[in-house]
């Protein structure tokens, strides 16, 4: 699952199937009430895609991302990531799989408040047991990538929303994942900051071939996504691949 080397053309690194969702359903049970969040959704995402999953609130975007990341388990159907069935993995295997192959960007940044920028970014590498020297160089590289090199010792509460989200991107990037799952990453940002971040993520996608899968309401992300999957009432309403 090593990402391909950087390339100038997006088409050049869209390759093998990375995510395969087969008739996945997820129903939540509250008391005696069953609430279907996702119904028989099938979807394939290839390595290197820059895909947005859009839809109104309650359409199942978050549920779909939860299932793909293994944070939740489908009631029916199956999810495969790089050929491995997610539901076959144990809790520890899933943790290791997410740690080594996935990056996460959340709506409210969700940095660890007691750690500095550097410590937040290097946290996953600490879990991976990466040696200190390599950690330092990769943190520096990741912070340069998101243009935050000068504020590495600050704590999250000393950063603006945009800066925090850039740290979150650096944290997601630093473990060199194949797939970054981003949940409404621009929802709490002003449009200029949000636009700059989406450009940054597109650049990472283009240069490093990292697959991005967004859940979003944001028109700006929808417009810039190379593929837009629209969900409605837990089902895929539309799946559109854009030509640039």
């Amino acid at each position: 699952m090593t990402p391909p080397a950087s390339s100038s053309s997006p088409a050049a690194y869209i390759g093998d199937t990375l995510i395969r969702v087969e008739s996945a359903s997820r129903t939540y049970v509250t008391g005696e009430v069953e609430i279907p969040a996702l119904s028989e959704v099938s979807l394939t995402v290839s390595q290197g895609e820059f895909t947005a999953v859009a839809g109104p609130s309650g359409s199942g975007k978050s549920t779909l991302l939860n299932l793909i990341s293994g944070l939740d388990t489908p009631t029916a159907g199956a999810i495969y990531i790089a050929g491995r069935r997610v539901s076959d993995m144990t809790g520890t295997e899933l943790s290791d799989f997410r740690r080594d192959h996935m990056g996460f960007i959340f709506q409210s940044y969700n940095l660890i408040p007691v750690l500095s920028v550097t410590e937040n970014v290097e946290y996953i590498m600490l879990l991976q047991g990466v040696p200190a020297a390599e950690r330092r160089s990769r943190v520096e590289e990741a912070l340069e990538l998101v243009a935050l090199a000068g504020i590495s010792s600050r704590r999250p509460d000393q950063l603006s929303g945009g800066q925090q989200q850039r740290v979150a991107i650096a944290r997601a990037m630093v473990s060199q994942p194949n797939l970054i799952l981003a949940d409404e990453p621009t929802a709490n940002l002003d449009s200029a900051t949000g636009s700059a971040l989406v450009d940054m993520m597109r650049q990472i996608n283009s240069e490093r071939g990292v697959t991005f899968l967004f859940s979003t309401h944001d028109i700006m992300i929808m417009e810039r996504a190379r593929r837009l999957v629209t969900l409605r009432d837990g089902r895929i309403d539309n799946d559109e691949v854009r030509n640039e």
């Binding site: 939860n66 944070l71 290791d96 996460f104 750690l115 996953i124």
Partner: protein, 406 residues
């Protein structure tokens, strides 16, 4: 190491809550440290009062003497035993005694009395007879007798008055009588001594009872280390037992005091359990409050690849850090308060417990054990208590924890 750093910083995140929890556990620990120090001080005080007054920390008799008090049951190798004890480094002092029942009569009255034949010089090192004598002196000249102030009142005698001692000799069991003169009147403050005991010179008693010059009924011992006296498994007891000898420490000589101290230890154990219950609840409460505040954060940590067992370890480490803060607070408070009271002492004089009347100030005793064992227990209980919230955190479903987001 990064988990330790994270745990420590998580605790400092809500400093007020951490300090309050640390204070709750710390004050409990300080209370325990003080109570234990007071208990040790009281115990030492009672044992010393009981053993230094007259009894001795240990005694040697011939088998059966203590239960029958028959004058024939004497230690025939008394002189050899005394010589052996005199060269034993563990023994601070030893005093030879005879003991018998006698009728002591004065012109006014008569009293059944327990009479001890003693060597005043040696007794000075073992018992407090010399301090208790309030009239006359404790030197006990030949033909002299020391009696308690209550016995003196009963017999209506004063210093220098004559008394007749009537006892039974060994062997034929003939009655024998001797005249003695009151050379001292003592007041121990313990009724059993003040109204029922008399002391005569050792040689006088041997002649009266027709014992040989090396015969003894009892050897009272004071140790250099009080711990030997209370330790039934100490080799000392085996080394001096054997043959027809019986060697006993204060626990066997004063079973009621021993039982009372055992009961006190049980009370201490109950206090300990209550404190550790408080520790466990405080730790669980603090960790759960912290967990509920950070549910989403735990979801994020799991999402980015933190293993369940790493989250478990993080919570256990937070409990360990919290208990270390508590231990620091508790040890500081405990040491300060105990040291202050140990300096001034507490006056329980006059209080009678298990037949022992406290006569001196009670000083709490600080031991290294207290500051190793109790903090270790607090840490241990905190770690055990943290298993519940740690398991809760480790089993947290990331998706549920993050329901607000992904």
């Amino acid at each position: 190491m990064y988990l330790v750093r994270l745990a420590w910083r998580n605790l400092l995140r809500n400093l007020r809550r951490t300090l309050l929890a640390g204070l709750a556990v710390g004050i409990g620990l300080a209370g325990l440290l003080f109570t234990d120090a007071l208990f040790v001080g009281l115990q030492e005080n009672m044992i010393r009062t009981a053993t230094e007054t007259f009894l001795g920390q240990g005694q040697i008799h011939r088998q059966g003497f203590r239960s029958h008090l028959e004058v024939e049951l004497a230690l025939s190798d008394g002189a050899e035993l005394m010589a052996r004890l005199d060269t034993d480094n563990r023994v601070r002092a030893a005093a030879p005694r005879t003991q018998f029942f006698a009728m002591i009569s004065s012109p006014a009255n008569v009293a059944a009395t327990s009479v001890f034949g003693i060597d005043p010089d040696r007794e000075h090192e073992v018992s407090l007879i010399h301090e208790a004598v309030e009239q006359g002196d404790a030197s006990l000249p030949s033909g002299g007798v020391l009696i308690g102030h209550e016995l003196a009142e009963l017999l209506e005698v004063e210093l220098g008055d004559r008394l007749i001692v009537t006892a039974t000799t060994t062997g034929a069991g003939e009655l024998t009588q001797e005249m003695v003169r009151v050379s001292g009147i003592f007041r121990f403050g313990a009724r059993s001594l003040d109204d029922g005991v008399a002391f005569v010179p050792l040689e006088f008693s041997r002649k009266l009872l027709e014992l040989s010059s090396s015969d003894l009924h009892e050897i009272a011992i004071q140790f250099r280390d009080l711990g030997i006296a209370g330790d039934r498994s100490h080799p000392f007891w085996r080394q001096y037992s054997g043959g027809d000898r019986e060697v006993l420490g204060w626990r066997d000589l004063l079973p009621e005091l021993d039982a009372m101290l055992e009961l006190s230890q049980f009370s201490m154990f109950v206090v300990l359990l209550i404190l550790f219950g408080v520790v466990a609840l405080s730790v669980i409460n603090t960790l759960f409050m912290s967990l509920h505040e950070r549910t989403f954060e735990f979801g994020v940590l799991r999402a980015v690849g933190t293993r369940p067992r790493q989250l478990f370890l993080l919570i256990v480490l937070e409990a360990a850090c919290l208990s270390l803060i508590s231990i620091a607070i508790g040890s500081l408070f405990g040491l300060t308060s105990t040291a202050l009271v140990a300096h001034t002492g507490i006056d329980y004089s006059g209080i009678d417990m298990a037949g022992v009347t406290i006569t001196r100030l009670v000083h709490p005793v600080i031991t290294v054990d207290q500051y190793v064992m109790f903090p270790a227990w607090v840490l241990g209980f905190a770690l055990v208590a943290s298993i519940y919230p740690a398991t809760y955190a480790a089993r947290m479903e990331p998706a549920q924890a993050m329901r607000r987001s992904l």
